[in-house]
């Protein structure tokens, strides 16, 4: 690609006197901003003409890899296809130009979209109500835990400050609990990769009256369905706690199960995963929170406007309408089939620590043949050379060489077969030419980066970069 030719910072393309904007003339007369209000020196923003700006950001984009470029089997991230119609609907001026504080009767259409989406989410999850306020999955987790804590506090049950989290949980679970002022109790996984009931029993015996909730994702981060969920939910409910469902892994359940039916009381959904809204390089997302009947009053004020990231809400509803009741139920089974097929086709060369049916994703513990010294990191980097995004690596923390693969329902057998043959090829290269794999990637705009240098001597702005040079 073109890192060498077009790798400049926009600041390095700036020349005094260039401009990339046009504004109407000031026809208001003499209203000058008083000098006393003003900053002493103008912000040193770039001065560029419009073509330069367009060329810069167009070329930069070609150093990126998105779902539209190719297969993106990033586990737990559900990198599904982002339908183009959703983008157009979200940008419709009849919605995009609405001020959130306009009188309610002037925004009826927008409110209808939010209400319809909430209704759909209730139907798909078996919960009673949703708030669209949370801006992301992690924000949703925090919101959901606030609901739970608020519920306990309302009953004068101030002692319930502990949250049980499986050792395989997403890193955000314990972090969200901590931010919500809750303490973590970690429950261990069995050799089968599922929540250990004896261990859970012991935690409950020890901490029962102080347990606020248990947070789970099901299927869990190993892609395994927690089949004891009815028993787990009962144990937690019996000790007075609530069940929280981390919706990061909701995709395989479309058409198969509903969190509400599994005994969960509160959950969040990542619209940017299950409901196909684009990840945008890390955001904006949307993390609606659903609650069982009776918990609605505890939904907290975590952002100002009732529709949250409304343009994301628009996309998600457009997706639901496109699929309809007929096809939305096919999402889970197809995603699950794709994952199991990859697993079965590769488990002879990659270490599969827990055999059996997985759901939308599964985890290898690196290459089967560990003698070559080729690590999961190396495999991931070599995949980039072949035009694939890498799977999620070194998560979950249960294994040393975790390689977590999630194909989604949108990938064809052809794409998957090519991926499988490349994965096998890499396993072969690890034996015949390990250095080739260890020094990968070779075909990308840049090679492996020096993370240590970046952290030891942080340069995070252009200004620091200039100061550092001189």
């Amino acid at each position: 690609m073109n890192n060498r030719l077009y790798g400049n910072l926009i600041f390095e393309l700036s020349k005094p006197g260039r401009k990339g904007y046009s504004l109407p003339k000031n026809r208001y007369g003499n209203y000058d901003i008083p000098a006393a209000m003003q900053r002493q020196e103008a912000a040193q923003l770039p001065e560029c003409d419009e073509p330069t700006v367009v060329r810069h950001y167009t070329n930069l984009s070609t150093n990126n890899f998105g779902v539209d470029n190719g297969f993106y089997p990033l586990g737990s991230c559900t990198m599904k296809y982002n339908p183009k119609i959703n983008e157009e609907m979200a940008a419709l001026p009849q919605f995009a130009n609405l001020h959130p504080l306009q009188p309610a009767h002037t925004t009826r259409g927008a409110q209808a979209v939010s209400t319809l989406l909430k209704k759909s989410l209730c139907e798909l999850t078996g919960l009673a109500d949703f708030t669209l306020k949370p801006f992301a999955g992690a924000h949703g987790e925090l919101t959901g835990l606030m609901v739970i804590r608020g519920y306990h506090q309302s009953r004068g049950d101030e002692a319930r400050t502990k949250v049980i989290v499986p050792d395989s949980a997403h890193g955000t679970n314990p972090a969200s609990a901590a931010v919500c002022g809750l303490e973590i109790l970690e429950v261990k996984s069995t050799a089968d990769g599922l929540v250990s009931l004896p261990d859970l029993q012991e935690l409950i015996a020890q901490h029962g009256p102080s347990i606020a909730a248990m947070m789970m994702t099901n299927p869990n981060t190993l892609g395994l369905f927690e089949r004891d969920i009815p028993a787990i939910a009962k144990m937690i409910h019996d000790c007075g706690g609530l069940m929280y469902y981390d919706g990061a892994n909701l995709n395989p359940l479309l058409g198969a199960c509903r969190p509400g039916d599994m005994g969960f009381d509160v959950m969040h959904i990542n619209l940017h995963k299950t409901f196909s809204t684009p990840h945008g390089g890390g955001g904006p997302g949307s993390g609606p929170v659903g609650v069982r009947k009776g918990l609605e009053p505890f939904l907290p004020y975590v952002s100002p406007y009732t529709s949250g990231n409304f343009a994301v809400v628009m996309r998600a509803y457009s997706y639901i309408l496109s699929l309809g009741r007929e096809h939305i139920k096919e999402v889970g089974p197809l995603a699950t089939l794709n994952a199991n097929y990859i697993k079965e086709c590769l488990k002879d060369v990659y270490e599969l620590p827990i055999d059996g049916l997985c759901k939308h994703e599964f985890v290898f513990d690196g290459l089967k043949d560990k003698s070559t010294g080729v690590t999961t990191m190396d495999v991931a980097k070599r995949l980039l050379d072949y035009g694939y995004h890498a799977p999620t690596i070194y998560f979950p923390l249960l294994f040393h060489e975790s390689l977590m693969i999630e194909p989604t329902e949108n990938e064809s057998k052809d794409t998957i077969d090519s991926f499988i043959s490349v994965m096998r090829q890499i396993a072969e290269e690890a034996k015949t030419n390990p250095d080739l794999v260890k020094s990968a990637p070779h075909n990308t705009p840049i090679g492996r980066v020096d993370d240590v240098q970046a952290a030891k001597h942080p340069i995070t702005t252009y200004q620091q970069m200039i100061a550092d040079k001189s």
Partner: protein, 439 residues
């Protein structure tokens, strides 16, 4: 299974199921207890063709009223240059994930580095993170950051002139995080330094930080002389919540001696879109870099000796710290950060100032006309930027209805007789004159 987003043919399905060892797709869920299996039909609409989807949204869109916007209160109707939606729709940006694999994510990492540089310039601070959800949650994160940075200090003082919506979000976070909040009183629309000083001595040793807003909720440009010194004397952090675009002209948080600057970047051309997505920003002094929540991109080099960008200082982040984390943020608002980066690249040093000057002039022109009508008075006798609060001597609801009937959203009503009005560079003189003619 025959559907436009699903590539599986019958033969594919058959071959794959065979490999997996199942007879049908239902068998893939064999381990799921029947009690929790969903066997019914979802009560959802039937699938729609793309044309039908479009028609439905257009019908719903027609139920919204397109109004000329004089509302603000934290969300402003600025102009979005045509370049931005065009570039933002590039799939390479739109459909990528967080830039974990630096080798194929230089596009994202590169623009975030530019974004951080621009935000640091705009706020006059040393550094910036890679962006946050929005301004209100950024402020709440700043409050938690101040407490985490403090030595057992658990109280944060907040000015009464802050946007009440921001305050409510902070109150939610503070309640669950166990942070004590105290309000600094206002006098005629500005934060009382005297009251701040008395609160600081009253809560001696326990104040982690002080948060004020600029321009404040009422659009007033406050004079924060002496604030940073007073706060620093008590070993607290001085935090400012500022409307991003206005900082192109106004004295910066850096100049006021702030330790943390936060706010919303929506004013940098982002459409109002009924509440979001926008973009929050957070900047701070270099000293606080390891306390700052959120993603940070740093410069480094690759093994070919090229300049490269990478997510850095991740040891601060939730996925490493887990329950020791002081923030649970694990993403940024990347695409919106790209939005404002392109906006600032186009507008540059002069354009942002010129737009701010236009907004300022338009607001003052409108204010003068309103006062001249004899029906309005300024609620606060203070300097304002592009937003101001007036008192109306008639029936305010009737007036707003009349404006609305003529296609105008006249402003945000903040009391029975008080209207808060904002003007941006997007409002034309004709629109303002029309509003005046309807009084």
């Amino acid at each position: 299974m025959n559907y436009k987003f699903f590539p599986h043919t019958q033969d594919d399905l058959q071959a794959m199921m065979e490999k997996v060892g199942v007879q049908n797709l239902d068998d893939l869920f064999a381990e799921v207890p029947d009690a929790v299996r969903f066997h019914g039909e979802y009560q959802l609409p039937e699938q729609m063709s793309e044309l039908e989807v479009r028609q439905l949204f257009e019908q719903l869109g027609a139920q919204n009223q397109q109004l000329v916007c004089f509302g603000g209160a934290g969300v402003y109707d600025h102009y979005m240059p045509a370049v931005i939606p065009n570039l933002l729709s590039r799939s390479e940006y739109l459909t990528s994930y967080t830039p974990y694999q630096a080798e194929i994510s230089q596009g994202t990492l590169h623009y975030i580095f530019e974004y951080q540089s621009m935000m640091a310039e705009l706020t006059g601070m040393d550094i910036s993170n890679a962006s946050m959800y929005d301004g209100t949650t950024a402020a709440a994160e700043a409050v938690m950051m101040a407490v985490a940075a403090g030595k057992k200090q658990n109280t944060v003082l907040i000015s009464e002139t802050i946007d009440p919506k921001t305050l409510k979000v902070i109150q939610t976070y503070a309640h669950f995080h166990g942070i004590q909040l105290e309000m600094i009183q206002q006098e005629d629309g500005i934060t009382s330094l005297t009251h701040l000083q008395s609160l600081l001595s009253q809560h001696k040793g326990s104040v982690a930080g002080v948060l004020v807003q600029q321009p404040n909720y009422y659009g007033i440009v406050e004079d924060y002389t002496g604030f940073a010194d007073a706060v620093h004397e008590e070993k607290g952090l001085f935090m400012m919540d500022c409307i991003a675009a206005d900082l192109a002209v106004l004295k910066t948080p850096g100049e006021w001696g702030a330790d943390i600057a936060v706010g919303d970047g929506q004013s940098l051309g982002i459409p109002m879109q009924f509440g979001g997505p926008y973009v929050g920003y957070m900047c701070c002094t270099e000293k606080l870099i390891r306390k700052m929540p959120g993603r940070i991109v740093g410069m480094t080099s690759d093994n070919r000796g090229q300049r490269a960008f990478v997510l850095t200082l991740q040891a601060r982040e939730q996925h490493i710290r887990r329950q020791k984390a002081t923030s649970n943020i694990c993403s940024n608002q990347s695409l919106m950060a790209l939005f404002v980066t392109i906006y600032m690249s186009l507008m540059g040093k002069e354009g942002l100032r010129e737009a701010a000057q236009l907004s300022y002039a338009g607001a003052h022109y409108l204010c003068d006309r309103l006062l001249a009508s004899g029906h309005f008075t300024l609620v606060y006798q203070q300097p304002f930027f592009n937003e101001f609060v007036v008192r109306y001597d008639g029936d305010l609801d009737a007036l707003l209805q009349k404006l609305e009937a003529n296609g105008i959203f006249g402003g945000v009503k903040i009391a029975d007789d008080q209207l808060m009005i904002a003007v941006t560079e997007k409002r034309t003189k004709e629109e303002i004159d029309k509003l005046i003619s309807l009084l």
